[in-house]
Symmetry: C2
Subunit: 326 residues, 2 copies
């Protein structure tokens, strides 16, 4: 299949590139077995999340393989962060397309190794197959939380306030930079935005602190876009949300881009790939010390849907919808 | 993309077809959340296994979607069975190709529902995306075992005996039937063999009984072929195995096919897709009552590799290798 040098066989690939990624996790039995074992620490329960990525849709064939690997892990760690979970490890299946060569796999594995070390997680198992189509990656990430304590999307109540971490819109702006847009920006903000797109920062310390504080009523990570994800919290909690656009935190690069082109505002508010934590909490909430800034951007109301208001409390109608995976 | 009627959006698909599959599992939160939670019962640990399936490689685009779903689950349940695990549920990612229409998804979901009910498991989470390539499915299955008790590939010792459950070779013969071969067989054995290929029987009750008995030194399920999988046990246990070909249990259909064509013997012994349990145990082992027959087919020896002997203890050299996934 295809025009690459033939890959080593499945078992050789696993031994050479994937087994070392499981070395830190004894339950993976060096990937020599069909299944891994894992004992959840007492008083804790599992948090599980799964994602699929298709070359050409979720990343580009020309993206560096190590960055693909790291973003894949971080997107899943971001889901765990929004639950307040401590990450443990992941299972991964790879369907490798005709253009994948051994150098690609080596670089991909190096990216996984880098972020395993960064986040203290291990590969726990998986499967490696070939496909004549685009490379398709699937990850199931495992984390743990004290039993019954996971943060959830449902639970927001009218009167609660709406918060978000970090900055919003850098993901979509980074994608625009990588596509050769936003040429009026200087090279330093362009690089910073591209980096935000390639390497999200899962807000694990913040998630853990929010869970420990006990005041959060609903939480999720911003992956489909701020407005769409606020809508998800509203739907799951059966209430409405108001977002004050002028309170939404923007990075220096995003502020500069917005100053150049005011039409970017709805793009920032609806673009995806932010991987910040969006959450609601009652009146008494005080943001914890976690190294990640948190800003109040709105409130929970009765009803349904998301309203975005400008500085004068006039509604901003967004033409751009949230990201649907197809 | 493609020439089918447009699918409902991602969220609509999930609500209509996948959320009902998670209804039996409260930790999935109706798939409204990004992550599921699961509390492992006290005294137990998780067993985790993952598989990827690519249309055109692991199943045919023309295969009935409900059978694709059921085989996918059963193959993973078979991995859990060989560990002695009780299955709990699964996460699934689907990358749907251009030819998938809503009728396909409805049938696929009906197949999942049928086997969830058959095996007492639930969908726990997942992701649904589109691909321009072949449909690609990935499953992570979860089971539980008493802590530290999972059956493993390593642990066989010289002097142990080698056993296998059920019958061997029906999977590869069933595939041949579906390809229009083995036309000399009657229609009844042809149907039985095709059914074995489409619907493996994960040996969960046997796996649980083997774990409870405590005498098994190594175990795995036969998916790559009897001889190749015996080799996997040998490699993990650092020893060799002898298989007596005349003791390998064959179904009536396989016996009939072999009587017609003696050259099928190496095919039966090396074909994959049997999903029986292959295991080793010491001298005192007595097969448990589990509803699944177990036959002694060989022994563990020092050294390495797998030797297949005929009735006269002459070595049968197999030209056909085991199934590698690429």
């Amino acid at each position: 299949v295809g025009n690459r040098a033939p890959l080593p066989g499945e078992f050789a690939l696993i031994r050479k590139y994937f087994a070392p990624l499981a070395a830190g996790f004894s339950g993976a039995l060096d990937l020599e077995d069909d299944a891994a074992t894992y004992a959840v620490p007492s008083g804790h329960e599992l948090v599980l999340t799964a994602d699929a990525l298709v070359e050409g849709r979720h990343y580009l064939a020309s993206d560096p393989a190590d960055l693909i690997a790291r973003k894949m892990l971080r997107v899943n760690l971001s889901d765990l962060a929004a639950k307040g979970a401590k990450p443990v490890g992941y299972l991964m299946t790879t369907a490798l397309g005709p253009d994948i060569d051994e150098a690609w796999i080596a670089k991909f594995a190096a990216g996984l190794a880098a972020d395993q070390s960064e986040y203290g997680i291990s590969l726990m198992g998986g499967d490696t197959v070939a496909t004549p189509g685009p490379t398709t990656l699937s990850v199931t990430a495992l984390g743990i939380v004290p039993v019954g304590r996971a943060l959830r999307r449902r639970g927001a109540k009218p009167g609660d306030r709406l918060f978000v971490s970090g900055t919003i819109g850098d993901g979509i702006l980074g994608l625009k930079v990588l596509r050769g847009e936003l040429l009026d920006l200087g090279s330093s903000p362009r690089e910073a935005l591209a980096e935000r797109y390639h390497l999200p920062q899962p807000r694990l310390s913040l998630g853990a602190a929010l869970l420990a504080g006990g005041d959060v009523t609903a939480a999720m990570d911003v992956s489909d876009g701020l407005v769409a994800d606020a809508g998800h919290i509203g739907e799951a909690s059966r209430c409405g949300l108001i977002i004050h656009a002028d309170r939404v935190p923007l990075s220096a690069g995003a502020q500069e881009a917005l100053a150049e082109d005011l039409d970017l505002l709805p793009v920032l508010l609806s673009g995806g790939d932010d991987y910040e934590i969006l959450f609601t909490a009652g009146r008494g909430f005080v943001a914890p010390e976690s190294g990640v800034p948190v800003v109040e951007i709105g409130e929970v109301v009765s009803g349904s849907g998301v309203k975005v208001l400008d500085r004068d409390r006039a509604e901003i109608l967004l033409k751009v919808g949230g990201w649907q995976h197809f």
